[in-house]
Amino acid sequence: MRTQRTSYRLTAYLFLTPNVAIFVVFIIAPAIYNFFLSLYRTSPFRPPVFVGPENFLYLLQKDDLFWRAVRNILVFVVGDVMLITGLSVLVGVLLNQNVRFRGFFRSAFFYPVLLSPVVVALVWQWILNSQFGVLNAILQGLGLPRQPWLLRADWAMFWAIFVHVWATLGFFAMIVLAGLQAIPAALYEAADIDGAGRWKTFRHVTVPMLMPTLMVVLILGMIRSFEVFDHIYVLTGGGPGTATLLVVHYIYRSAFQLDQFGLAAAASLVLFVVIFTLTVTQYLLGRSRGSI
């Protein structure tokens, strides 16, 4: 009996090995490696030198581009998350209505989620192109001035947010929809019997019951927003100038275009702390509500 149990144990470890090995080699080891990289000054021609917190101090005190990226990402996250949260509730509620063609509407709102960031960016580049784009053609048709949408800093940031919301809204709306469908119908019947109108029912039944879902949307939205790279990298290339250069783009640039490994690692660590905090918050909130 004893030997059999030992062999089960061995079997379990064998089954785990491929997956865990990949985790260790490609996630856990790099994460530790990243920590050490952030403490070294590297150059392509000399061996790395240990410099302690120098990279972090440089980032925080001298690196204008890093601060630019931080300001950009904060604007991006605030705009993105506000729109995502508000619109996903609106769309979720709409898609939960007893309307005709409901399946079609759900698919239509979900469809952009399937598209790759590159395709999303190309689709909108084609629409927003300052010379040939259909949006400017429509504006011109209405007698309004054409705009250099992606070539002016403020517009470029606006469209960066808009395009990302467009691409991810369906995902969050589906989460809200699932949350709405989990609200017991008895609560609505009770509200109906008590003579609560639509607004009161929404305010006092739907909103409180949807709160856990909304927290998920809010925090997941923030995490994904801080991690944004592909959509904007292809849409604007971080431009015009550095107007839409976000933190991950900064990391990519330092690591792969400028060979500033130490700075890239230090900036990665800053971003990691933000994502770590958000994830732990989500976990604690979820656990306190017993929903995970």
């Binding site: 079997t11 089954f15 785990l16 491929p18 997956n19 985790f23 080699v25 490609f26 856990i28 790099p30 490696y33 990243n34 990289l37 508000g86 609106l90 509620v93 709409l94 209505q97 007893n98 509407f105 759900r106 698919s107 709102f109 979900f110 469809y111 399937l114 790759s116 590159v118 190309l122 689709v123 909108w124 580049q125 084609w126 629409i127 010379q131 040939f132 053609a137 011109q140 048709g141 467009w166 991810t168 369906g170 995902f171 589906m174 929809l177 639509r198 929404f202 998920v216 997941l220 592909d230 292809v234 991950v248 990391i251 690591a255 792969f256 690692a265 990665s268 660590l269 990691f272 994502i275």
Partner: protein
């Protein structure tokens, strides 16, 4: 907000202002979500003169397909396509295999360190590629996987979400089934392969759809790992055409449309798995 509250209606049927408002919002929303894609599809069938014309035409004056044939001739589209298909298929197969093996071990055996391992696997959700892309690249380069499709396939194949999803599903399979198989003399691998996996099919289907979507649309991994044109995936190939100064828009449009056909078909057939996957686990879309 005001519109949504007005549109609240728990028993359908009557056409009041709220319902009309709901339809209005839905139609408007559908237009915003769907017209941009329709627009590039229509544009891809227009001639070069027509796509640059102002005011633009909505439907093509003459439906032409030379954008497609031209794109196929002038760009190594088929090579990119082949690379994308290879990456998607091989990576999805590996993901299903190793994630389900890990989930099997974590749900059907008791062994020291099991819960710790599970927590560590879930914990890696907090470390997205975006925050470790540099050290990951250095590791991949050291292993000689830079500029190879294996470098895109292997590292992201051990997905924490996949392990989680499958483990939760396998927990619902009664252990008595496994015991019965053992009494009948089945080995452990055979139990995994012939008893547990067939019963896990719905969860495997969800993971398959997500894996296809993740891999087909992936951009950051290939961007980091690959810098040789012959190894480009579709997404890398398409991304070369970004920017205001692109002059080959007619080809870019055609290639973009071609690249979204497979994923659209997958969606049409397997939509319910996608939606249920998001609804039950918040799986990243």
């Amino acid at each position: 907000m005001a519109t949504s509250s007005k549109a609240m209606q728990y028993r359908g049927g009557r056409m009041d202002t709220g319902t009309i408002g709901a339809y209005g919002c839905l139609v408007l929303g559908t237009a915003v979500m769907f017209l941009p894609v329709l627009w590039i599809v229509l544009s891809s069938f227009k001639g070069l003169n027509e796509i640059y014309r102002i005011p633009p035409t909505f439907l093509p004056e003459h439906w032409i397909t030379s954008n497609y044939s031209g794109a196929l001739e002038r760009f190594p589209f088929l090579r990119y396509l082949t690379n994308s298909v290879v990456v998607t298929v091989v990576a999805t197969a590996i993901t299903l295999a190793i994630n389900s093996m890990a989930a099997f071990a974590l749900s059907k055996y008791r062994f020291p360190g099991r819960d710790a391992i599970f927590l560590v696997i879930l914990g890696t959700l907090m470390i997205p590629l975006q925050v470790i892309m540099l050290p990951v690249y250095l590791v991949i380069a050291k292993l000689g996987m830079a500029n190879s499709l294996w470098g895109i396939i292997i590292p992201p194949s051990a997905t924490p979400t996949g392990v989680f999803l499958l483990r939760q599903y396998m927990l619902t399979i009664p252990d008595e089934l496994l015991e019965a198989a053992r009494i009948d003399g089945a080995g452990e691998f055979r139990i995994y392969w012939q008893v547990v996996l067939p019963l896990t099919r719905p969860a495997l289907a969800v993971l398959t759809v997500f894996s296809i979507m993740w891999r087909w649309n992936d951009f950051l991994w290939p961007l980091i790992v690959i810098n040789q044109d012959r190894l480009f995936t579709l997404q890398l190939g398409l991304a070369r055409f970004r920017g205001e100064l692109v002059t080959d828009w007619h080809y870019v449009l055609a290639m973009t449309v071609l690249s979204i056909i497979p994923i659209t078909l997958v969606f049409a057939v397997l939509q319910r798995y996608l939606v249920s996957g998001i609804a039950t686990t918040g799986l990243k879309g």
